[in-house]
Amino acid sequence: MEHRLHDLTPDEPIRLLTSRAMAAHLGRRAFLGGALLSAGGGLLAACGGSSSGGVSTSASATSTIGTGPVEGNLNIYTWSEYSNPDDLKSFTTDKGPKIKLDSYASNEEMIAKLVAAKGTSGYDIVVPTGEFIPQMAANGLLQELNHAALPNMANVDPQFLDQPWDKGNKYSVVKDWGTTGFVYDKTKIKRELTNWADFLDAAQNEASGRTAVLDAPGDITGIFFWANDIDWNTTKKDDLDAAEDYLVKKLAPHIKAFDSYPSTAMAQGEYTLAQAWNGDARQGILNSKDPSIWQWVLGAPKTELWMDTWAIPVGAKNVNAAYAWINYVLDPKISLSELTYIGYNTGLKDIEATAKSQDVELPDLIFFDSAQVSTMVPGEVTEAQQRIVDIWNKLKATAGK
């Protein structure tokens, strides 16, 4: 048989056997298209992604940082339900940047994320609790603030500036301050609970299996220390051993959840007893179907005084937008709006008087008199921090048995 070579040129596809010849052409296109896609996708991603350089952290070049034109986006890493959505919207309308929020349940989690990311986390603002700032700064996680770009700092009540853990407000400015206590369901716990010892007792009795504690190491060990008149910033091994012993053996089996924001579950009736920060407790009570079943108790005889702050992490890309937001929130009008939503004292001058004159709901969960404030002790990050985190992990593991 004769084979004519030119009849069998490579350009002519072999139409063989099946109608899938059509599929052959489709297949080739799809295959090549796929290969191009993955290559092109990679290229596109590379082009679109990289921004212009890192951000300088040296103090000498701060004079113009934050004063430039605001960027289009702002990524905030903060606590949950910690900003009034209306304020977020009005900021975008007034100044431009679109805000994205991510949340964490404890400072340890936020720090772990920043340390792991080494500046690539993508966050422009973080909200650390004051006592963690010295270590964060020492480990190169935070940028120094340019006060020239924050004119509204003048509105802050001076007693909330210049804190011992951030002298001169080099890295942070106050967002709000608050305290720790607990709420309980009066219909389920018939007696009156007034202090941390009552909390521990009720947790092991009436509220066994329906108790929530904060998902933050220091606050949990704090319950033991405050109830037993021990300085909750202690570094003594005996104290820590006693705390671990009691919490892991006596409290852990009765815990239903480690929840830093019990307000949501409260509204669903999940807990009978919950340790909570005052603002979150307030939100939980206000959002319940029947607010009157809940009783808030300020931690006694001693409890925590914490102050949350705005700070800008190293590696932030939208620095001008970050400054714009912080300045925006330090405006008295916006600050009041924040306060009414989150239920924490924002620390601006005269904010308490203004809020009360506007009939803010449940003011005694927001504002505290000097007698109460004297029972609140600020926290410190000591060398016992690692031990406290270990106790917390053991607690979680034991509670899960």
């Binding site: 072999i14 899938r20 080739r28 796929g34 991603a45 679109g48 992604g49 890493y77 991510d102």
Partner: protein, 283 residues
Amino acid sequence: MNHRRRPDLLDLALRVWGVLCFAFLFLPILFIVIYSFNVGRLMVAWDHFGLDSYRIAVQDQAIRSAIGVSVRAAIGASAVATVLGTLAGVALARRGGRWVPLFVGLLGLTLVTPEIVDAVSLLPWFVWLGADAHVSIFNHGLVRLIVGHSLFASSVVTFIVRARVAGLEESLEEAAADLYAVPWRRFVDITLPLMMPAVLAGALMAFTLSLDNTIISAFVQVSGSTPWPVYVLSALRSALRPQIAAVSTLMLLLTLVALGLVALVLRRSGESSTQIAEAIAGV
């Protein structure tokens, strides 16, 4: 002769079991769909019926962004996994060799390693590559997601394609060879169309796996490129709103449409439902 018995007690019991299983499988989905019509502050607490959550979901910028990131990452991951997996599947099926057990072992390892281990290992790796080794492309959120999602998916696609290609008779390709088709043409005109159902099934699997991927995404994502499951995970921390159920219902519809399309294509090319199931189960 027809050997069928009259349905008896055992058959009835099995049928009841089947119906119960279907009810079990669909129960949570039904509740999600129903609660997507909940107008209230919390998703789990029914307030009253309405379409508000859909409206809010569509308008919410964070939700739109999360979906957008998820879809883009899924397309990218699917493309990468399909290309890698198809090539590898063909190599495994057609070309044997001493390397095969090793390679299959590596693929198997990918499938067997818990996702949490992948997640906690990828983040330091990406950070090292991006920050210390200055390969800055790995600081980009979408790139991280695509790479992270493509690992498991590549292995799945490889096995699917291998199973399919191994089942193809070589006689077609040999016939093409006899007719002087060069290897490249043989591959493109014969092998590729014949294994197209498997490739499509693999691509769909990779797409779905990427959309669904939660743990790796939660660890490696860069703020600003937050995919949908991570958005839901962080909403879990604070408050679950009905919008989430609304978006989930919409995505379910989308997935159903995609599933239907692929089934249609596979049916057209002559696959039986069993073969489709085989392809999808990767068995």
